[in-house]
């Protein structure tokens, strides 16, 4: 039945979106910034997964963790090299820390896209499937083997991340820093380390998403642009800094797009997210789950 098909497909896409969005949400929770280079972590993951498998002839099951690690490394490096001014009292950007983050991550995004474009080339690479079966039927619902396997992996990883943030030592440090940075540092938490971990995790998750989706969406230098915009929409919709919010919003967006592409317009399907983003920012800037912030 079409409805079930669309819904399940939407949910599956939603899982991948969640991989993107949760990292972004974590970053916002800790540093109160939006990382405009987030799409490029996705792109790096797609390339790492695809090219390593291609050139070294290794099984994609081995290159998948490589992609995750590549994303983590990039995220870590970004935070260490570029993000310190946000919280070490860097005088010259002073009150304009948010704007500093916008400019520097925006520039980073441009840098990475063009670097890959020049060094690797503008042609797309199709990622290898994890599973050979192209068609799997579960009751009325049909999907490719890779898609199902990827969705399963995404789900497992999401659950793992949720558990990590909730229960692990560093997870709880991160929660503390997100709630009150100054307080956390006074309590002896290494806030810089927490920021690094969050950025690394965010990069790894986005890279994983890029890798998992590369058999469906080829790896090209600007492949990260659309997933990035989607994750901005989700993070704002779900409330910046709220993990459950991001998760729920991801699924909602996935299903909405799935139905929208069929029932409304295929050509404009990417504008849905943008319009939703603007509407949410205007009327409910704290999203569905986020906290209203007080000013004075």
């Amino acid at each position: 039945m079409l409805l079930i098909d669309l819904t399940v497909n939407g949910l599956i896409i939603g899982l991948f979106y969640a991989l993107m969005a949760i990292g972004l949400s974590l970053i916002f929770g800790i540093l109160r910034i939006v990382n405009f280079a987030h799409g490029e972590f996705y792109m790096i993951g797609a390339y790492a997964y695809t090219l390593i498998a291609l050139f070294f002839g290794i099984s994609p099951w081995l290159t998948l963790p490589c992609a995750f690690i590549a994303g983590m490394a990039l995220g870590w490096a970004t935070e260490r090299l570029l993000m310190r001014p946000l919280y070490s009292g860097y005088a010259s950007w002073g009150v304009m820390k948010d704007e500093y983050a916008v400019i520097i991550t925006f520039a980073l995004s441009l840098l990475l896209i063009n670097l890959v474009d020049k060094v690797i080339g503008p042609n797309g690479y199709r990622g290898p499937s994890l599973v050979a079966t192209t068609r799997v039927e579960i009751g009325p619902f049909m999907a490719s083997g890779h898609r199902l396997m990827a969705a399963g992996i995404a789900l497992l990883v999401l659950i793992a991340v949720g558990l990590f943030v909730r229960y692990s030592y560093w997870g709880r440090q991160i929660q503390a820093v997100a709630q009150n940075r100054l307080g956390a540092s006074l309590a002896g938490i290494d806030t810089a380390k927490a920021s690094s971990i969050v950025f690394a995790l965010s990069g790894g998750l986005a890279a994983l998403a890029g890798a998992l989706l590369s058999p469906i969406i080829n790896a090209t230098p600007d492949v990260g642009a659309f997933p990035a915009v989607k994750s901005y929409v989700i993070v704002v919709l779900g409330g910046m800094g709220s993990i459950p919010g991001a998760a729920v919003a991801s699924l909602i967006l996935g299903v909405l797009e799935s139905f929208g592409a069929v029932y409304i317009s295929y050509g404009y399907r990417d504008t849905f997210g943008l319009v939703i983003l603007i509407l949410v920012l205007l009327f409910r800037p704290h999203g569905l789950f986020g906290e209203r912030s007080r000013e004075v």
Binding site: F28, I33, V34, F36, L81, L82, P85, S92, W93, V95, M96, D98, E99, Y100, A101, V102, I103, I104, F106, A107, L108, L110, L111, N114, L115, K118, A225, V229, Y232, V236, G267, Y268, D270, T271, L274, V275, L277, I278, L281, L282, P285, E295, V296
Partner: protein, 325 residues
Amino acid sequence: MAVIFNDTRMRDRIQLVFSLGIFALVALLPAIVRNEYWQGVLIVSMYFAMLAAAWNLLAGYTGQFSLAPAAFGMIGAYVTGLLSYHFNAPPLVGIPAAVVVAAAIGFGLGRIVLRLRGPYLALTTLSFAEICRLVISNSIEITRGDLGLNVPGIFDHRLTWYYVMLGVLVVIQLGLYFLLRAPAGLYLRAIRDDEIAAASRGVKIVLWKTNAFTLSAAISGLAGALYGHFAQFVSPELGLLSQTGIIVSMVVIGGLTTLPGPIGGAFLVYVASEFLRDFGGYQLIVFALLVIIFARFFREGLWGFFRRAIERPGRRPAPAPSAAE
């Protein structure tokens, strides 16, 4: 020891003089640069200089880091392009119309994003810019989509274009100077520094934030319209996010929140990018890298280097341990 940057009035004056110096240099360049191609490069630099100056007004002086400057250039270009394509309107109608439409849209966007700052503002303006581009791209019957529109030219000689664009740029720069020296300039900077405090001091926040958006959009629209008639072609590529990236690069490298920064930055970055094009198109990589380095380490951009070079040591009386310590 002569003190140069004693007060803000002096500082702004020096920045204006520096800008005029750049303009004088550019005005004399055609004596050396006879090649029409490179004259064209300089003309396009002037287009970017206008966009950069407009964005600097909004971001550097008012603190609203919009990611839509290229979109307004595109809007201006398309207004005059569409008017001439569909209605055979002459540039004398098309260009003012472009300014008015861009200003109106800028006003609207400015009102919409009033309560937003930082990443929220950036995201909203980015979405707006992308939506504009996608709409123009997809409205094929009206705009011919990605094929672009042919736009009639105005002047036969490239040199005429050269000096007309330069003239407009000078007027814009002078206008910005006088605006920033007027109380309006104080209001914009106060809003940038601390909107809450500015309100408590009586500054009309809504009015001035909107004014900044409107004026910035108007200038960008004008730039786009002029560019359209110069290049005799407009396409949705004018509004690409990478174009905004270039504009932001120019301002950050030249010097954010300075008068000569966007101008100098625009010429340097665009001319350099043309040189680099000969070497294999690494320009965006270089500029993105420069933006990162400058934003991270040299917030004042190239202007900062210049300022530190001409400021003499011991320029300011050190705050003495007076009663007010």
